[in-house]
Amino acid sequence: MSEAIRLQTPLQDRDLTALQIGDAVLISGIIYTARDAAHKRLVELLKTGRDLPFELRGQIVYYVGPTPERPGQAIGSAGPTTSGRMDPYTPLLLEAGMKGIIGKGQRRPAVIESLVKNKAVYFAATGGAGVLLAQTVKASRIVAYEELGAEAIRELVVEDFPAIVAIDTQGHDLYQEGVKRYRQEEPTR
């Protein structure tokens, strides 16, 4: 793989438009966690014109529900969850200024269109690499919805969090392009 590109949050448009599918990145700075239940609440706030519990502009949202941290740990295991379940909510968050998403798995066309329209990028992290990814989390604090437990929104400080550009600002999709590239014909039977 080519050498990883370093990204610092909050993300700048010029950093994002330079990224192409298949690029390896190392993300540093503050990122926010949110998964199913938190998304439902965030979108309710946006739909009724209320403020979000954190500044979303230029930021990355990471789809993760970590395991509980042991004493002395910043976070427990913390790999990505399946992104597709967030698809119904994602365009609204992109309209509200979100610039990056970290998750795993393919996205539906409406999300890809919204990523292009809002010049945002979808990053894939390795599902099931919860321990490896947790090592890049230097600090963690809950910023909203503590009662949701693993689904609470957390602010994470990450250093060199490894991910791959899965959908870029031009709407290229590695879930389609990558599969096309390696698909082999069936043997004739």
Partner: protein, 281 residues
Amino acid sequence: MREIDASGVTAAVRRLCIDANNLLEEDVMAKLEEAIPKEESPVGREILEQILTNDRMAARLGMPMCQDTGVAVVFVEFGQDVHVIGGDFTEAINEGVRQGYRDGFLRKSLVTDPVIERKNTKDNTPAIIHMQIVPGESIQITLAPKGGGSENMSEVRMMQPSDGIEGITDFVVDRVRRSGGNPCPPVIVGVGIGGNFEQSALLAKKALLRRLGSLNPDPIWNPLEVELLDRINRLGIGPMGLGGRTTALAVHILAQPCHIASMPVAVNLQCHAARHKTAVI
């Protein structure tokens, strides 16, 4: 008749929850290692390396390899000459899950009702328990934590006998194709054939427990397992769905007799964190 105290069941289940989540079995590790030199995609190789590094770190640090520590699926082979004393057997298992998920710092991933409130049960209970009465005077417990990502990509189809092997093959391959990166490939594909509607699903799940690299105990299924694995790995899905050759590590089939009118087929996908541990009391 042998007496077994319920507290012993709880202690065993507690330990199994922690070990299953932290220590990946050698057969899975070996299959992941084998896949790396064969993987043509650089992104795919990098992902496989990350997975292996992660799984070794999990064992070393005593942390769960994946944050989705799953629903506790418990397979019990209960010796008919055993008498459980000192408590309720089902509750003893659930108490073991409660303690294991608490003491192992595992994620509690169950909600009370599936639709209306979806409030976390906060202790990862209830476990899903499959009981089988067998001869003997011991209890064998296999604990298999199952994550949501791969479980969500599973399916049962009531096929017709005339659909034959070809129908089954197309269904299984298409189920993997439609799942893409969602079930965290490389996956293990459990296929249950026969029984009835619910039994086929259970067969598919039990098929996942077979040791990777082992032949099917019923040799009539070996050619189909080989063909399915070949076709699945031609799909191009690759590690985490980003393109590559390694989409599945294995296909395991488990079959049993069924009704003359039926041919139920179930596909249970298992992510690369193929976790299960067994204890005998």
